[in-house]
Symmetry: C2
Subunit: 303 residues, 2 copies
Amino acid sequence: MLRAPDHQVAGHQARDGALGPLVDGSGRFYKPLQTDGRGSHELAFYTCFSSNPRVPSHIRRFFPLFFGTQLLEASDGSGLHPHLVLEDIVSHLARPSLIDVKIGSRTWYPTAGEDYLRKCLAKDRETTSLELGFRVSGLRVSEGGSGFWKPGKSAVKGLTVEDVRVVLRKFVSSNPTAGPESAPDCAFASAVYGGSQGILAQLLELKGWFEDQTFFHFYSTSVLMVYEKGEAEAGRRGAYLKLVDFAHVVEGKGVIDHNFLGGLCSLIKLVSDVLTGPTEFDIANGLNGSEMRPNCSMNGIKE
Amino acid sequence: MLRAPDHQVAGHQARDGALGPLVDGSGRFYKPLQTDGRGSHELAFYTCFSSNPRVPSHIRRFFPLFFGTQLLEASDGSGLHPHLVLEDIVSHLARPSLIDVKIGSRTWYPTAGEDYLRKCLAKDRETTSLELGFRVSGLRVSEGGSGFWKPGKSAVKGLTVEDVRVVLRKFVSSNPTAGPESAPDCAFASAVYGGSQGILAQLLELKGWFEDQTFFHFYSTSVLMVYEKGEAEAGRRGAYLKLVDFAHVVEGKGVIDHNFLGGLCSLIKLVSDVLTGPTEFDIANGLNGSEMRPNCSMNGIKE
């Protein structure tokens, strides 16, 4: 019995008769191939990636497993449609918290046409991509019981750099929806971000690969960070990350993916700041900014 | 006695009655403040940087020493003009080889106006900046005797990614101007790029700082890599790098300079490739590309 996934936080959704991904509830995720060529391109990526013997196995775990393609009844009722068959990376979780972070200050690839470039550049400038090297595309944070916090699309789109800093704290807090008077408690920061197997360690491992790999350049690809609320509450570790969305991957041709790597390093810095940096109190009181600012002004740049 | 520097490879030149930098032959470099605001901005950077107690001393050595400003007769004969007084980083060398590498796939800063953005973006796309995360802005490679190889501005501007790979080999070769039939011999690669104190080690040290520092974002800043030919011939080390050109530095505001860091990592990868990667023969025979390419094609992306 295929159905729309419960925990999707970004991308097209198979609801209200639209075309979107489906899950079978037993570990597989079916992503309809987009018909404009992006779908076949993502398929080409999964095929290349799966068969590339030079991708080390400790890096493969950061990608969803790929099981080929399958013709399925589309979620929009339009009949049979080819789907990518992928690992459902959250099917085994009861109360997952997840955040989708689109990496890179630039979401367009060098050979992109003018219209596509302009569209992407505008979005990169409107969101935090340009300034921060990444943007949050969606999130869902489990709260008490079966409740969860999931900001709407326009709220997510409007996040500023300082908002993203707060969101990365709320993501690991037991009180993500507390009002402005009570700061996110970061109760799960150490269990989720910290430790030798935590999210930060995994991001650093991924960074090591990106410093060297020249096979692929990942434009508009996201890092999905995931943990199970119950596990975190019990102080158990088990958070993980997965890369998703490969419709705009291009060949690296002997050059590293400096755009993805730069954004990844920026995310690493902000996650580190949650573990070791200024507290929410500092941020609220502007200590974060001033502490990190040089001791004299550099305003008033001329072009 | 002030005069135009002998070894300048990029930027405005104080020749033929134009406004440009001067040297005094005893270790100081006088850079005229550009009157459109860029000059005062570069001055603001040097002032902030010099007085920032959080910049570690092992990082300071990668920046020219700053001695304030001075009113001097301008090289274009227009009368007294304010100059930045800086360390002349090559005055002590008899036969220097140097290469100016402008770091970053994006040379415009986030708050730039539309015209400036468009101008920079066009240059970033025409050169290797976009693809490679950096571009070569100029170079001078000492040859036998007092001879040297210094490609013209338009030749430097037209360098492709593969050309840059070759230039990084020629920069450390005793035969930089040999024809296409004889490959650059990379005779000085180990003395210049290699070793625990070599250029690669220095680039990695700089990278470590950029992974953490959030004071400054360096747009259009160059890494200058320098060595003395005679020293390299004798197998002695002593190559060094300096950052130059700070007219477009902006405050980091708690975010790392992911644009500079990404480009720096790309340069590190290409310099490593000279030391450990495929030989010139491999490159000439196309083995470099094919070896690094995935084993299936990802062409034909649709937007």
